[in-house]
Structure formats: C-alpha cells, structure tokens
Symmetry: C2
Subunit: 330 residues, 2 copies
C-alpha cells in the first residue's frame, strides 16, 4: 500500500526525481543551483562582468565566457590583452562547478583556483592580483560589499576568487529537454533524438561523457585509436604532471549546452557538432558514423541545451579619483 501510494504520488507530480529508470541511465539530470550566500553571488557577478580586473580595462571574465553565448566566446581560441591569440579554446563556464578540475589540463583544482588565473595571465587579462585588488579597494561601493560578504573591507584576491566562484556555481542549466525526458516526460524528445541517445550510449560515447554534466568527470586521451591532428601545442595533463603517460590527456568537456559552445575540442578545430561527432567516433571509438547516425547523435546533443541563467546585467560602481586607471595600450 505504501509503495502504491508512493508510485501514485510520483506519477502525480510528473517527475520521478530518483526513480530506478533514471538511476540506470549514464546521464543524470541537472538540478537547480542553491546559492548559499546571495550577497556573495551578487558580488561575484559584478566581478565577473568588471573589465577593471584587466590591465586594459576592456576584458572581463564575461569577454571569453560570454553568458549570452553559452558561457563561451565561440572562437577557436580566445582573444586576450592587445589581441593576443590564446593557445586554447575557452571552455564554457556553464555547469563548470561539476568538473573534477578546471582548465583543459585540470591545473586548477576548483573554480576559486581557476578564477585567479586569467587575471594574471599576460596573454589574457594581463593584470596582477595585487593591481586588481588595488582597483577594487579604491572603490567605496566595492569595499562596502566585501565588508558585507566577508566581514572585512580589506580586500584580498582570495575574497575576489571566492566571490567569482560563488557566482559561477549558480551558472547551471537545468530544464533541458533531455532532462525532462530523464525525469519521465517521454514526449520531451522525439524519435530521432531518442535514437541518437541510444547510439550515443551503445557506441561508447557515455564511457567518458556521463553524469549530470555529460562530461567533466575524468581526463582522457585525445586520440585513442588514431592520433589527433592539430596545430595546437597543448599537451594536456602532461603539462601539469610531467608524466609521459599523461600526454594529450585532457579533461573531458561537458556536453551540456554543446549546441551553444562551438567550436569544439581544446584547439577549437571542429566548427560544427557534425564535425566533432565524426572526429570523436573515428579517433576515440574507431567508428565511422554514417551520415544518418551522425545526424541522430547531433539531434540528441541538441536536447542537452538547458535553461540559460537569467541574469540582470550588473551595474558596476564607478572608479574614483584614487582608482588606478587602466592601461590598454601600454
């Protein structure tokens, strides 16, 4: 009786949050973010959009992780200070809190650790942590917000990256059609998309692309059965560990919102999903997908686009006469 009541209750709410059916799937639905500290998230959002964290005053986190464009810049590799051509494709910030580590080579252990990187990278924001903090410290409204969030208005880079990470943790994308299907709405995806999902599982894609983020949970070799041909000099985990066996091991990217995060791979060399699926099949799985199979898998991948974070553009407090000025052309 209890069981029957439970089933009726589950059916009546329309979604089956932890049903055996979901548990059996290699992909799990994304849950909405539950921010722990709204004030910290709001401060982090301001910092994420503030180009004064760069030497030029022109580049913000949002420049390369554009939240209008799937949290990416949709470029093969990013544009940094003085139009520096970055060495690698900018990964999406959406759902990035689910990654086992940050950056393609996983050299940052978490979002906080990652957030400080681009600020001080000469080819990205080209600033230093000290200078960035100095800018913020000169602005009374920022001091007040840091005081409110951290209990101190003596700003340090740890507070800055804590706040940015707290904001980034809210950038999750539940509500995709695929998640609706996972939760029991069998009309949420069509037959082609379902066949694509079956192919995605049967051919082994889910070996790496699994879990709630459909990736992000492991480092894997790029080019298992055939070498990956690329102009990129990136060596993956090898650059972090120095171990030969880690050469060309990269963090498996999330496939959530993959429709929005083109171009693909760490070198941005695959312009379209069809290209990416073809290459993955060939070099990772030893499989030449037919045109029909490819189209079905691509159709499935597009069901992973979730509800994008709805953000009010932050209004940034003005610099003061004491704020160090940006140096875009030095």
């Amino acid at each position: 009786m209890i069981m029957r009541a439970l089933i009726i209750s589950l059916l009546s709410v329309g979604t089956i949050a932890a049903s055996p059916a979901i548990a059996a799937e290699p992909i799990q639905p994304i849950e909405a973010a539950k921010p722990k500290n709204e004030n910290m998230v709001e401060l982090g959002k301001m910092l994420f959009f503030d180009p004064r964290l760069s030497k030029s005053g022109f580049i913000s986190c949002n420049s390369c992780h554009n939240l209008s464009m799937g949290g990416s810049d949709n470029l093969p590799s990013s544009i940094g200070h003085k139009w520096h051509q970055g060495p690698i494709n900018s990964p999406t910030v959406l759902n990035s809190s689910m990654n086992l580590a940050q950056f393609w080579d996983g050299r940052a252990k978490d979002l906080k650790d990652q957030a400080g990187g681009p600020i001080a990278n000469p080819g990205e924001m080209a600033f230093s942590h000290e200078l960035a903090v100095g800018v913020l410290q000169s602005i009374p409204q920022y001091r007040a917000r840091f005081k409110e969030v951290f209990g101190s208005d003596k700003i340090d880079i740890g507070m800055v990256t804590d706040a940015i990470a707290a904001f980034e943790e809210t950038l999750v994308t539940p509500g995709s059609r695929f998640d609706k299907w996972l939760k029991g709405d069998k009309t949420a995806i069509n037959q082609t998309e379902l066949e694509g999902y079956k192919l995605f599982k049967e051919t082994g894609c889910t070996g790496c692309h699994n879990g709630a983020a459909v990736g992000g949970a492991s480092f894997q070799k790029m080019g298992v059965l055939e070498p990956f041909e690329t102009q990129s000099k990136a060596e993956g985990r090898f650059a972090v560990t120095g171990k030969e066996e880690d050469r060309m091991f990269f963090k498996v990217p999330t496939l959530r919102n993959v429709e929005l995060t083109y171009p693909y791979f760490h070198d941005g060399s695959a312009a379209t999903l069809a290209d990416a699926v073809n290459t993955m099949g060939r070099i990772q799985l030893g499989r030449n997908f037919t045109k029909d199979e490819n189209a079905k898998i691509v159709a499935f991948l597009k069901t992973l686009t979730g509800k994008q974070p709805e953000l009010t553009l932050p209004i940034l407090p003005p610099s003061t006469k004491d704020t160090p000025r940006p140096h875009p052309f030095d």
Copy 2:
C-alpha cells in the same frame, strides 16, 4: 478657488510635473522611456550584445558602450578590431536619443544612422553591413524575430539599425536625485549640491549644458577663451561641413550620469570630474574655479546619476553550420 485647489492638488501628489518652478530651470527632468514596439526593442537588445556583428566575433556595441558602466567603456579612446586604438572617446549611449545628432561631430543624424557606423568601421568592428546581415540571415531564430518585427525575414541593414536604435531609445535614466529635486522633493539634494547647481547656472555652464539631457542640444567650440590643448587630431564639425568656422566645434556631451562616464572630453584627457570642471571653467568661461567651487559643482554633477536601465542579459541564438565564422586574427 480653482487656483487654490490646483496648488493643493499639486502639493498632495508630492511632485510638480509641469510647474512654473521647473519650467524656470534650464535643466528639465528625464521621463521614462515609452517603447513603441517591445519586440523590436528586444531584438535590438540582442543585436546590441551580439559580437557576431564584428569581423572578430569579439566586439559588440556593448563592448564600447558598456551598459554596466554608464553606457561607455571608461577608456580615453576605444579599443577596436585587433586592438586598434580609436581616435576619440566613446560617448555614452545612455539618453543618447536626446542628442541633436550622433557622434562627437554629429555626422550621423540619429541613432539609426549611427548604429551602422561602428559595424563597418575598420578600426572598430571591422565588418561590413553585408557580412553582418549574412551572419544574422543564417540563424533561424534571428530570421523568425525579424519576421515578427518587420514582417519579412529577408534581413537588411536598415532593419538591423532600426532595431538597435529602438533598443537604444529605451536607455534613458530617469529618477536621479536632481530630477527628484526638480520635481519638488527639496530633500533630494543637499546644501552643497544645491550650491553647486547655483554655481553651474550662474557661471554659465547651463549656456550649453541644459535641457533634459544637460547637453546634447548644440555644437559648441571646444576652447572658446583659450585653445584646448590636445593630442587628438579630431576637428569636430569641420570634418563634416568643411567650413572653417566649424573647426573644433563638437556636440556638447550630456552630463547625465557623468559620474559614470569618465574620462571626459572628446579626447578622454580629463580623468576626473574635478579636472573636467576646471578645464571647462578656464577655456570655455574664462573662470578659474576655486577648489571649493569646483567641489560644489562636482557634487552637483553627481546628482545627475539616474536609475540605470535594468536589463536582462539577452541569450543569443547559436550560429548554424551555414553561419560564416568570425575571423579574429585575419
């Protein structure tokens, strides 16, 4: 009796919308925008934030008219394609619909006319109208929105600039403390700010900085009583009319939100409001403001900061396999 009833009625609502007291002031309050076509405004917002209107796929209208930063980039001159250093300070887009013409030299007659300029300027977005339209035309969600707004999904640059202008027309900033004071709330500004306003009027600043936008209504010579010393090669209206008497005549900038739109002047050479007020007093009015006078005028100017537009960040539709890719490094 009628008069008395009117006065009581006006006092009872707390604001005096068209009272003789306001009419006597050289500055008028800003009224909220009344968008004529919400769908066109929403489309315009998407285009304003879409970097795919640039050759690089990196620069959008919002890059230099950043709506988080007073509708400006807070740089002396802007950064364009391949980090090109622009020749002039980026004017704020806020309240720009009130300007008699657009650009510092007024070479565009209105916002629509202006909007196409940066897209095709090799030193700004470095694209062409044809290429920008081609990108939009390749994206079904854009086609659908243009169809909805303009009745046709054969996109042309006129539709693009119409939509951007419609969005920009909504970017007004009512509700400043000074406007509250103008409307009858005598506690909205303090004694120092009021004295600053009196100085602003008495010394002649309102000769040019008047009306709802506190500027934007005329072209005036930069350097009336003393030449303006600058590294900038900009010649103002002369570049448009070819008339010698127009040399160094520039559009008077709005002082609305001037606290947010530093640095100042067409060459961005005044880093702070105090600098700008000093220079203006000296070269335009032949007056050396005392430190106290300067501080009062600056205090007044800061009361002109209005409520910034509250915008939900647009989510841009993804490119398709048919969308021409950006060329950031060509």
